[in-house]
Amino acid sequence: MNQTVAAPLVELRGVSRQFPTDGRARVHAVVNVSLQIGRGETLAVVGESGCGKSTLANLIIRLHEPDEGTVLLNGTDISHLGPKAMRPHRRTMQVVFQDPFASLDPRVRVGAAVAEPLKVHGTKRGEELDEQVAELFELVGLQRIMMKNFPHQFSGGQRQRICIARALALRPELVIADEAVSALDVSVQAQVMNLMLDLQNELGLSYLFISHDLAVVERIAHRVAVMYLGQIVEIGSREQVFSDPRHSYTAKLIDAVPIADPRQRTERPLLTGEIPSPVWPAGEGPEPVELIEVEPGHLVAKE
């Protein structure tokens, strides 16, 4: 037991995943990624559309199987487990997606939606089940009488709270938030982020927080990984990455964030560059980057 307690909650070792596209070309979505997520820790993954953030999340929760590399959960190799063997591990990891409208069945009462994972994993039933769902509603700041309502009766922020309640139903250790606050208005976004921080303190959750919004990430993350074309180009503590970005792409991302203070306006040169394609002809692929540790815990790709 001691050994598993010492292990990080999640560890990826050299994980890669490709997808076929038209003809024989392949999308190199995730390339040789290694990282760890500690207990009670938030690791944010940032990068632009198509950089492989969501594929990375799908590899961790094993919606995708890695082509290469190893995915460890609590020290157990889950890289190639079949559906049945994977099942007990699924309750350890839950996901909250970007669009709470698309994540809830419009014809299912929200109480039943939150109860569903509990039924599937067969832990409780009857009044006991209802009581647990009610507690989950209260945990995320909703009233228990709302359980009877349908998704359309809720605002976007309330719906995201319902999705969080459903994700927490099985007492997971890891919650993956894939752009979970991106579609929300700024005031609601702040409230949902405060809720996530409260829940982390209360329940000791780990978060994999996927976002394109660096200002949001700076608030919520303990550690940050910057992805570019399927690879991690920089990873470190929030302070290391934001205050001392060493990779040119990290610096470019940070520079591009609009600053909500008119007194800090700067003249920026007109940039025109676009990100190259992650699609490669058969037999070819990206040059794997080499990560150098520039200070303890702060790794940067050689340029």
Binding site: A215, E218, P258, I259, T272, G273
Partner: protein
């Protein structure tokens, strides 16, 4: 003299009041930021100026005026213009770009052709002259490899390039006012920075006034001269960008600003920290 002056504008959808007694001005060449959350009435305000709000919907403009200064110096109330005149004004004197450029472009025509169309319709240019001018617009909005891109279809372009095409169409006839409704919301942050920089640069080059609608306070802080804050169908506060960000008077503006994540605000802090929300958001 204001370029655009909106007074007491009220629009209803049956029983529901979408905007209520909205008033503000836009000066020639300035950038007015209109901020507020979903449903606050930002887009209905923009569509009213374009006189598009009543088209095919139950919306009714029940009160108000929208005075616009034409290039010859005459001032007209856009709300009283017949549809025929509005067709001349839209795209020529007041033009608009939207959040999602893919749905704004016609998928079956090359993008260059779509810029030329606006020039043929509004400027009466023949095919050849319209194409030549459209090609110049490509350079104006800094589309790289312009000759190759000119004949491409929208699906062959990235989101950022499509939005540049939209901007080229919108500016092709030299409008006095460009209404941009969440123009960078669907774009990645680096592409957003490029697009905002481009809009700013073009404003200097062409003297066009911009009404920038956004929910992103960072974007407003970066580009607006003055700001209108909307909440629940009403303008709750307006002022210079500095006044709004550094001395907000309305409780809603204060609450909104307390929820904005500000890059750099966490420097030197150890762990994550919650937002300290003001007023009604607590």
């Amino acid at each position: 003299m204001a370029l655009l002056s909106v007074t007491d504008l009220t629009v209803t959808f049956d029983e529901f009041t979408a905007i209520d007694s909205v008033g503000f001005e836009i000066q020639p060449g300035e950038t007015l930021g209109v901020v507020g959350e979903s449903g606050s009435g930002k887009s209905v305000t923009a569509l009213s100026i374009m006189r598009l709000v009543e088209l095919g919907s139950r919306a009714k403009v029940t009160r108000g005026r929208i005075d616009f200064e034409m290039p010859d110096g005459s001032v007209i109330d856009l709300l009283t213009q017949p549809e025929r005149s509005m067709q001349d004004i839209r795209g020529k004197h007041v033009s608009m770009i939207f959040q999602e450029p893919l749905t704004s472009l016609n998928p079956v025509f090359p993008v260059g052709e779509q810029i030329a169309e606006a020039l043929r319709v509004h400027e009466g240019l023949d095919k050849k002259a319209a194409h030549a001018r459209a090609r110049e617009m490509f350079d104006l909005v800094r589309i790289p490899e312009a000759d190759k891109r000119f004949g491409q279809y929208p699906h062959e372009m990235s989101g950022g390039m499509r939005q540049r095409v939209m901007i080229a169409i919108a500016l092709s006839c030299g409008p006095r006012l460009l209404i941009a409704d969440e123009p960078t919301t669907a774009l990645d942050v680096t592409i957003q920075a490029q697009t905002l920089g481009l809009i700013k640069q073009l404003q200097v080059e062409t003297g066009t006034a911009v009404m920038l609608i956004t929910h992103d306070m960072g974007v407003v802080a970066e580009v607006a001269d003055r700001v209108v804050v909307m909440n629940r169908a009403r303008v709750v506060e307006q002022g210079t960008v500095d006044e709004i960000f550094h001395n907000p008077q309305d409780p809603y503006t204060q609450a909104l600003l307390s929820a904005v994540p500000r890059l750099g605000s966490m420097a030197g802090r150890v762990g994550p920290e919650p937002f300290h929300l003001a007023g009604s958001l607590r």
